[in-house]
Structure formats: structure tokens, C-alpha cells
């Protein structure tokens, strides 16, 4: 067989494999849109649930998810950005730095349900925050720390080394240099990372299973010490444990969740590409 024919066959096989990866994506998203679209209405998105979730809307689940991710970013963004600053601007090439990097890789590899256990043991039980938005948000914050650190590090590394050199040669201190010659130019990348981490946090179920989530609450949460409903948990319960819910309601819930996550992702990607075009150096 000619070698060019062999190549054609080989490339076709590779292409087929790629199709087998992409096709399910199209299928999953297509199914959700097709079946969930009919269940979406203004009422669905903005009213409280009634009749054990068989009627009414998922408003509190949407709100609860937004509360959770907003509070979690309040914790993870400062710590994550500062950790990235440490690694990129201060850390020397020694054992401690290698350990920190190893720790970050490990945090990103821990199973989501183990984070749930951790949150239960530390925040709910030991620190006595109870099953609450606070416990859930803190757990999500630690879980998302690696995402923020990685994105921030890339953003900081993208700022040309010369900016630092110039600033230092003018007699500025290390922190002044970072604060005025590095950080302002890294903000777009950091922002992108933050939004991507929000998107991830919004879709997580296992970490919030034991730390915050409730299924059917009559009111919206009033403080961070309250429990709350949340979209991913909601989808889990209505697809596995509640019979007699209209199929389109289940699909509609999935639609809202996927919609929220994808919107955030697209937002982040758009910011990233627009700011890449505007790059001034």
C-alpha cells in the first residue's frame, strides 16, 4: 500500500475519533436545548416553587447559586491572586516553592466529594458554621483556588520583564513595582480566571451536598448562616428522587444551569480575546 494511502487512512481514523469526542457534546447540548426550551418562561425563572416542586419556578435555586458563587469568589480571589504574586514575583527556586506547586496540583486533583467531606468536617462541624451558605462558599473557595492561582500566574507572567526592571531601576520597592508596573497590566487575565472559576463553582454539586444545600425551602436565605437551594443540587434531586415532575421541568432546570455556566464561560472568553487585541505592548 502506498504510504500516502496509509496516511489518508490514518488521518481518517484520527478524524473519526475526534468526531466521536465532539458528537456527544452536540448531542448533549442539543437535547437539553430542544427539550428544555419549552419549559423556560419568565414565571419559571422568577417565582418560588410550589407543591413540592411540581409547580412554580426555580427562582430560589438560581438566587442561591448566585449567592454561593459570589461569596466564594470573595474568599478565593484575594488569596489566589496574592498566592500567584508570591509564586511569580517573590518565590525563589527552592524546596518550599516546589512544595507549594505540588500542593496546588494536589488541591486541583482532589475529588469533589472529598471536598464536601472536608467542608463538613472543618466548616460545618469544627468551626460551627453549620450547614450554611458560609460553609458552602468556603468549601467552593478552596476548591477553586488552584484555578485562580493558575490563571493569575499566567497573567502576571505575561507582563514583560522589562517593566519590572525599569521600575526597580527608578528606585521603587518590590511591592511598588508589582502594584504599579505589573498588576495593572495583569488584571484582564486575572479577571478571566475569576469568571471561569465562577462558572465552575456554579455547576458543582458534591461540595455543597453536605455543606449548604437544601431542596425545598419556603423562603430565600436571609443571612450567610442560612441554608439555600442551589441549581446543581436541585437538578440532582428532581432527576433522581422526585417522581411525577414534568419532563420539561427537569430539562428546563438543566437548561438554566447549563445556560448560566456557558454564559459565564463565554463572557470570560470574550474578555480574554478582546483584551488580547487591545494589548499595548
Amino acid at each position: 500500500m502506498k504510504t500516502t494511502t496509509k496516511q489518508k487512512i490514518a488521518f481518517s481514523i484520527l478524524f473519526l475519533c475526534t468526531v466521536m469526542v465532539i458528537l456527544p457534546v452536540v448531542f448533549v447540548l442539543g437535547t437539553i436545548i430542544k427539550n428544555g426550551w419549552q419549559g423556560i418562561s419568565w414565571k419559571f425563572l422568577t417565582t418560588m416553587p410550589k407543591d413540592g416542586m411540581r409547580q412554580g419556578g426555580i427562582y430560589p435555586a438560581i438566587v442561591g447559586t448566585l449567592y454561593l458563587v459570589s461569596l466564594s469568589i470573595v474568599f478565593s480571589l484575594p488569596v489566589g491572586v496574592m498566592a500567584a504574586i508570591y509564586l511569580n514575583e517573590y518565590a525563589k527556586d527552592n524546596l518550599l516553592t516546589r512544595l507549594i506547586r505540588l500542593a496546588i496540583v494536589n488541591l486541583s486533583g482532589v475529588s469533589s466529594v472529598v471536598y464536601g467531606l472536608f467542608g463538613l468536617a472543618l466548616f460545618v462541624t469544627f468551626m460551627k458554621f453549620g450547614v450554611s451558605i458560609l460553609s458552602g462558599a468556603l468549601t467552593l473557595a478552596i476548591m477553586n483556588l488552584p484555578v485562580i492561582i493558575t490563571a493569575s500566574r499566567e497573567a502576571l507572567a505575561g507582563v514583560p520583564y522589562q517593566f519590572r526592571e525599569v521600575s526597580l531601576s527608578l528606585g521603587l520597592s518590590r511591592w511598588q513595582t508589582i502594584r504599579h508596573s505589573v498588576l495593572p497590566f495583569a488584571i484582564p487575565g486575572i479577571l478571566t480566571g475569576a469568571i471561569l472559576s465562577l462558572a465552575r463553582a456554579a455547576g458543582e454539586t458534591a461540595p455543597i451536598l453536605f455543606t449548604v444545600a437544601a431542596f425545598y425551602l419556603p423562603n430565600l436565605p436571609r443571612s450567610i448562616f442560612d441554608q439555600t437551594m442551589a441549581l446543581p443540587y436541585h437538578l440532582y434531586i428532581i432527576s433522581t428522587q422526585i417522581p411525577n415532575i414534568a419532563v420539561k421541568t427537569r430539562y428546563a432546570t438543566a437548561f438554566v444551569l447549563v445556560g448560566m455556566v456557558f454564559t459565564m464561560n463565554i463572557f470570560a472568553v470574550v474578555i480574554r480575546s478582546r483584551l488580547r487585541k487591545k494589548k499595548k505592548w
Binding site: F163, E165, S167, K280
Partner: protein, 256 residues
Amino acid sequence: MVENRADIQIKIKVKQLNIWFGNILALKNLSLEIYSNELLSIIGPANSGKTSFLRQLNRLNELEANFRSTGEVILDGENIQKTKLEILRKKAGMIFALPQVLPISIYDNVSYGPRMHGMREKGVLDKIVEESLEASFLWEEVKERLKESATKLSGGQQQRLCISRTLALKPEVILFDEPCSGLDPVSTAKVEESMLKLKEKYTIILVTNNTKQAARVGDRTVFFLMGELIEIDKTQKIFTAPADKRTEDYILGKFG
């Protein structure tokens, strides 16, 4: 120009300076005196230690991971290791090989140093910006567009902007690290013109790959080779009757 030997003040004294980067000895046992208000040209082939020496004067070498040094550098009677970094770097400003403007306005670039060191009054800052830009012959070209981004300037203008930025901190010594290597001849001429004018008020040390430039602007010239100081003397003498054969060979272009 330093005419009368009785007038000479020593600005910088270097005593047996050795610099290592990891295992590489970049500068060997260097001893040297630099006089106030002179323009000292440093010439030599690549890797001769010229830039390492220059960056030692404002302690920028300390940013490198494997840097080590022995010996002393004394500025105005004080060992620079004992001087506070902030004060040292205000006293000895540096201009880099490629113009490094920050992607902010021209005004903000020049006023960057004073602002960061605490100067807030707009009136004073305006004056500093104007004086600094005039001193590098850039004022006439940019006075109408101070708010524009500095990245819009040409290479030569950007380099003169960097000079202004350094001057804004009222240094006493200016360190030029191959400042014209990225510039066209016209811009190079303008930068050299600034250097000659600045010599009246500042002490200038110029590292350059361009021997002709060294001959044009330097009062004295020093020749480095492989980390060692080979010869230092009045520019006129170095370029017409160098004492060391290696100096002569380099100037004639036989190597380097």
C-alpha cells in the same frame, strides 16, 4: 571636560570587584576610578563584563538568582552595599538598550519616578516633566501631546523619553547600557547630543558596542576583555596610540 588635574573629584571608586553568576566569573578583580562630570565610555566585545559592571553600580545584578560578588563599589565615599536601594537608584539612573516605555501616557511615564516616591503636587510635577523633557531635547516634539500614550512615539523618541524619566528623579550619575543599539542614525545622533549636554551636570557612564560612538562622546574610554579591565585612558589616547595590543586589535576590528 576634565582639564585641570587639581579639579578632579572621584565620584565612584571600584576596588577589586569580582562578580559571579553561578560558576561563571563575569568580572575579574576590577579596580577603577570614575571622575565627577566625566563621560566614561566602556568598550569591548560581547561577554566582556561591560553590562555586568554597569548593573553592579545600581545593584541591579542582585535580581539575578545566582549572583555573587566580592570587592567594593564606593559612591561619594559610601559603600553602595550600605546605601539604601531606593536612594542609590535615585542617585544612579539607568537607560536600557531597548527603549522601555510603560504603556501609559508620556506625562505619566516621565512623572512616574517622582509620583511613586511621594510627590503629589501637580504644579511641581508639571515643572519636573517639562524640565526633564527639555533636558533630553524631547520637549518641543511632545509638549502638545503629553497625554498621549508613550507607545506611539518613534524608537528614538521613546529612548529620549526614558532619559527624561530617569532625569526626573534628579540623579547624579547616569548609566547608559548600549542605548542606541536599536536606533536609526538620526535618533542615535540626537541621543548622543543629549549625552554630551548632560555631561555638564551629571557623571555619565556609557557601555557601547560602537567604538566610533565611544570615540565621539567619551572623555575617557576603558576597554574590557573577558571580564578584565585591559586599558583605561583619555579617549584621544586610546584611539590613536593604545598601550595594549589587544586594545589596538579590537579598535581596528580585528576581533569582536
